[in-house]
Symmetry: C2
Subunit: 159 residues, 2 copies
């Protein structure tokens, strides 16, 4: 499971590099599907990953919206701010944590019980899904998207 976090982080860094070749206007442009723009998608992935980890730890999650982060530089800064805590949590993950249960209450009062192992895989799938959306928008811009291949990235040290 750890390997897929490392995969997401590598792919995310490559998308930042990809963004360097695209105007800020295009990065912020409202697009069809997902959360709406390329940069907001990257922001959203950082937000969701960190927030779930914080929730598992019983700490406050991220409450800010994208308005304060409308540049590649600010999104990268946010990532650099949150990443160490996520990395530490993932590095210390072990199978005994799989079945711990997160109890949470939805806005309508519904109570949810989610095994931590599901939450971790939810974070993984969430990011890969949104990156798939970026790949379509990249082709709409006539640009080659970042490769989604997991093989060949030397990830096997992180299982």
């Amino acid at each position: 499971m750890k390997m897929l976090f490392h995969y997401n982080w590598k792919v995310r860094e490559e998308w930042y590099a990809w963004c360097e070749g695209v105007s800020e206007e295009e990065l912020l442009k409202k697009r069809t599907g997902g959360v709406g723009s390329i940069l907001e998608t990257l922001f959203h992935n950082i937000d969701v990953e960190w927030s779930w980890i914080r929730v598992l730890k019983g700490e406050d999650d991220f409450k800010e919206d994208f308005e304060g982060y409308r540049s590649l530089e600010k999104v990268r800064e946010l990532d650099a701010r949150f990443k160490p805590e996520v990395e530490e949590f993932v590095a210390n993950w072990d199978s005994s944590m799989e079945d711990r249960v997160l109890v949470s209450t939805g806005k309508d009062g519904t109570e949810y019980t989610d095994p931590w192992g599901e939450v971790m895989r939810h974070i993984i799938a969430h990011e890969i899904h949104h990156i798939g959306q970026l790949s379509v928008w990249s082709r709409e811009l006539d640009r080659e998207p970042v490769s989604a291949d997991l093989l060949g990235r030397g990830l096997s040290d992180n299982q």
Copy 2:
């Protein structure tokens, strides 16, 4: 890791159901990004998943192209044909298989060595990525895409 295979299979079934409400013309229409059409994306995910598993088993993989499978019914039939073998392989997966090495040769003669654990996660990420592309095309059709949420699907029995 098994959980993410089960997640992909559930989401895939929901996309088949989603396809029932869309005309064959729209399902086959060439779109921007990915492999080009909604139905070919579903076909491609089935093909890639089964083929990698076959390669790990040292058996022949899938050589047919999409031309013979240009309907929802045919894609579902292909899935039903391949799925049992994939399910069995995934069910019998254990951590001792992580570091087995697959040696393969590319078209240009390059030799690749990939740990089996990476191959399995490559299959997972590959499908989620392509499903993210479907979600954009769904919005272009003014349709709600299938949820990508992993939580709430009762997957925790499959770790």
